[in-house]
Symmetry: C5
Subunit: 303 residues, 5 copies
């Protein structure tokens, strides 16, 4: 996630960090080069004048607008839903910790439970990013718990099972009443829903065929465009083609970046910061004072 105050309108025209320009430079140079050639040759290819007007392009605009608008909205919806799910995780973990501290008669037993929730948050992040959760488990859980997790395939789900077992143990020893256990089931189920939601977004991309159709249409459009413009605007053709290509490629690149919001690209969600925030707020609930704080952004980017 890029965190920076919005610059004034003039410097904002020239920001480099946060711009998608570096990613799309090759394509942009390619299409602009074609446009320069077409302009230099006045639209003639092998002695054959390619006659094109703007009409086909405004007609193609119809389907292209549908494709690009769809792609953009869908990608952002995925991004935002992912953020909402992590917000759900944050609050339900807080609710559960609060309940563990107040609904269970023996407050001293809450910390191991809260640590399971903290471990769950880190485990989910590691699963979504394909990284190794071992270090985080080691500093939060008992060796026996680490052992049990190491052989589990669905680690976050296993942690929810262990949290549930903690509740069952409390219920059996009588420090958690049946009714209060019922109250704790609701947030526990909601955390499970957040987990399944994240897995769903991570595992189910926008149908690949969309990406193919959009990609082809954009490139064909940008390659044919100079032939349509050269007769009416002459030497301005490459500039305009570069401008139009920039908006198309930027839209496509940004969509591809936030479509999978759990990665480590600049506009992806700051899962590192989010999970440390969850850890901090849960630790404070337990009465701890020395809270961890999220890493400072590097070049305005928080991961």
């Amino acid at each position: 996630m890029i965190v920076r105050p919005r610059p004034h309108w003039f410097p904002m025209l020239f920001v480099v960090r946060g711009s998608v320009l570096p990613h799309i430079a090759p394509q942009l140079i390619f299409t602009t080069a074609i446009a320069i050639l077409v302009t230099a040759w006045h639209g003639v290819v092998y002695e054959w004048k390619v006659t094109l007007t703007f009409v086909p392009f405004s007609l193609i605009g119809l389907t292209l607008a549908i494709f690009l608008g769809f792609r953009n909205n869908t990608s952002y919806a995925r991004y935002w839903e992912a953020r909402v799910l992590w917000g759900t995780l944050m609050i339900e973990a807080r609710n559960l910790s609060r309940q563990a501290m107040t609904l269970v008669d023996d407050t001293r037993q809450a910390p191991p439970f809260v640590r399971l929730l903290i471990a769950f948050t880190h485990a989910l992040r590691h699963q979504l990013r394909g990284t190794d959760p071992k270090a985080d488990f080691a500093r939060l859980l008992t060796p026996a718990e680490c052992e049990r997790l190491s052989s589990a395939q669905f680690k976050p789900a296993m942690l929810l099972l262990m949290a549930s077992e903690w509740m069952a143990a409390r219920r059996r020893e009588g420090t958690l009443s049946q009714t209060m256990a019922l109250a704790m089931e609701a947030p526990l189920c909601k955390i499970g829903e957040a987990l399944a939601g994240c897995e769903r977004i991570a595992n189910t991309p926008i149908p690949f065929t969309y990406a193919v159709i959009i990609h082809r249409t954009i490139y064909l459009y940008c390659l044919l465009l100079p032939f349509a413009l050269v007769d009416s605007i002459g030497p301005m053709t490459p500039i305009i083609v570069a401008f139009i290509s920039y908006t198309f490629f930027a839209l496509e690149a940004l969509g591809a970046e936030i479509e999978d919001p759990f990665g480590r690209e600049p506009n992806d969600l700051a899962l590192d910061a989010l999970s440390i925030n969850v850890e901090a707020t849960l630790r404070e609930t337990m009465g701890e004072r020395d809270l961890p704080s999220p890493p400072a952004p590097v070049g305005y980017v928080q991961t």
Copy 2:
């Protein structure tokens, strides 16, 4: 579902798998052939010059954009809702298994219940795809249960009833308290909602009349288009007509494919993989180690 890493921008222009091109080739060839004929005859049909300009096409664009945008958004909404429902199924089955393992006093009784949930998942898949669930039932359930299911018309609903009966039996024998049974009712009802949601999507297509209007408008548009272009862009007419037809037909074909997301076409949901995933996570909850894993994609396609 097509699972493949996004190729680099250049090779992506030429991918065949995941492209919808093979499905729409006949129509595309047909309209392009018409365009070639029109271009060859300079828009004259039986000595009568068909006078057309781009104007009618940009006016028709208005309703066409509404139709196509609607079709596309609605189809994708159905696809995504279906995916969400299977995510719900996944998590509530996990929640119920977790509860069966921790809320019931006698853990040894949980496996038959969890196997009912696994059978439910497979039964739903089979119902949605119109295939026979017998083999899956046989490997998961007791003969008596299989017998009872074989005569049932609404098999997944019957499995939920059987799960409910298991809970009633536990309650009667005293290993599941009333309050904890209440906690288990919530996810059970939610699984029922996921079931009804899938049935709704499978049984209620987008009103057929939409498909008819969209289909006719697109084809009339593509057949008349060459007459409008031939005078201004001459020999480029067939290329442009092919390009525009491609985007229209592709949009329509893709919409028709994902509108019914439970099928076996490449962009449909990977129900096989999803249900095996549910089975694996539920088995792990029961403490099993040897988990089934989803079949490898064939040519990037997971079913």
Copy 3:
């Protein structure tokens, strides 16, 4: 609801059933006739040449697109929400029946309750379509119940009250515990929500003024259009006007049809089939074998 397999792309151009063409034929003939006259007179009315170009029409397109897109999306949203509500009804009736069979200690008492739910489904359908529910009540309920319902103004709400009274009776006689009664309250409330949702859609149309504005704009547009086209496309004018009018009128007619999804027009919801399906699944829950099945579609149309 029109249920038919999607025809191949070529025959689909000529389907009659499921087409909205018969409904809009008069208007279509009217505007086409005007267009023919305008073409014959070369846009001269009483010796006064009406000068029009395509420009005003592309400008009007802006608001027209907003109106038509809004109308279309809103109508479909109503249609789909109505379908979702009937899906809710289906599943919560199933949930309640399942609970009546497993949460109440004396299973033999469940059938009268389940029959109340079946009667509720039919009563809702009759209320939404303004038909008489007497015959359905007579075959499902006791004479006393029928008597009580016959004088009720809000019949489905009365049936929910009677279902609630059944639960109260079970609670008082001790076969349904307080906690299990609590579990049954949730689906009962949700059925009430489905009822209120259906009433809301049935009683609150899209504001009438929208229909008026859209209607006027479309007709004025189609009547003026030939004057704008005749100078540039000459004899093709009537064909294009007919084509454009077709898309406008079809969009308006289809919107008006599915806006009120509880009617009996071809694209409306198949409430008959839906309520018989609910009846079948509830009867199966009670252990019955001889289940009713929905009537076969007549000319692809299910009501």
Copy 4:
């Protein structure tokens, strides 16, 4: 709310009631008059020919479409959400009455509670419309209750508190069990949510700045438009300007009307009829026979 059967397509062109025309007549006459003057002077103002083409107008169309589409969708979303909230109120009041009649052991005590709910409905309507609820309170509640309400600032919230107190009294005297009281808390909280939702819509308009920008853009557009049209379509200019202005002004006026759906304009919600409907269904739940019915529409308008 305008309730009338949809007229046939031809008479619908000339309906007056339900048309927004009377509200926008002044602006429409104003812009048309300007267009007539511009046409008469051939676009010359003080000997200076104003040169304009359609191009700027099609470019402005881009932002205008965003503004108007946004305004229209947002206004309707508010209208529809308000209707949904009143539907929630209807059903949860019904649920609570049903519960009061069946969950409380002494049925004779239900009527004062149900009357509190009826009073709540009327109180909410009066608050939203800024009218005096005294008369409705007087016919429904005891003098002591009226007294208490007369000094309250948040009257509907106070009525919910009183309903809650009734439940507490029943609980204390033992006719309502703790568990059944829990069941009644859910609909009571939902009624509270409907109340807060209505207050939110009533108190938070669409940001005023939107209205200003849209208003200015539309008027500038309509005033400049004749200069752009006069050279190409000559004497048709005023007719087209009137047509285009009509669609713009109508869209703006309708948006402003339904944006605040609780008023008394023709397209606003029929709160009078809705609250009498709630009263009727609650009275029927209590076993009353002589139910009030909503006032007949005056000139197709229900308030």
Copy 5:
């Protein structure tokens, strides 16, 4: 939030308060000045005639419409969700107070709890706006509570924990039954959700890259536009460029303003008024008569 009655259509054209014009004046003057220069030089820059037509601008319109529409809708969705969350806070605080007054046997103990909820509301506002909550805490809470909060990092979450502790204390002393405590958990969890929702909106802006792309595209568009217009509309060019720039800049500025709805700009949410309203309604629930009222708007603006 700007609260003012909608002026008549004519004065509305000239309102200054509520207009975004002052914020965008510099850019507007800049682009208009460029347009004047271009017009004066007839589009010639350093003896080189820049040939441009409207075509590129209508093609760029495609992506620009997607970007601007997306930006506008997303910003408003954030604004409205924030308002909904504060509505949730309002109602759940009311629900909790109502429950504290009726579900707990000893009513005299409710005030400290209700004051915690009032303090929560103010604490959330202060956190969202980055202001100091000390003064509000001091007038509402005990010194011990203030002390505990002063060292807390997540103050609103700490207040929910303290509210939960109050409930635990009541439960232990026997004035709040287990079942009624369960009823109070639901609104408490929902307040937690509102808190997390507000934090999510406050901490996660729309991806910065969107702002960059939109900003650049708009400015390039407005700077190149005069070259495209000067040949056809001559001296009207600066007026039209100013008009078009106005709509673009206004759309961008308004989006940026409401994107972060918790600030103190004129169109932001009136958190001051909202939190005082919550305080007033909660105080009335406790039986207080002398209720605080929100500050009067200053120049139609409520903060």
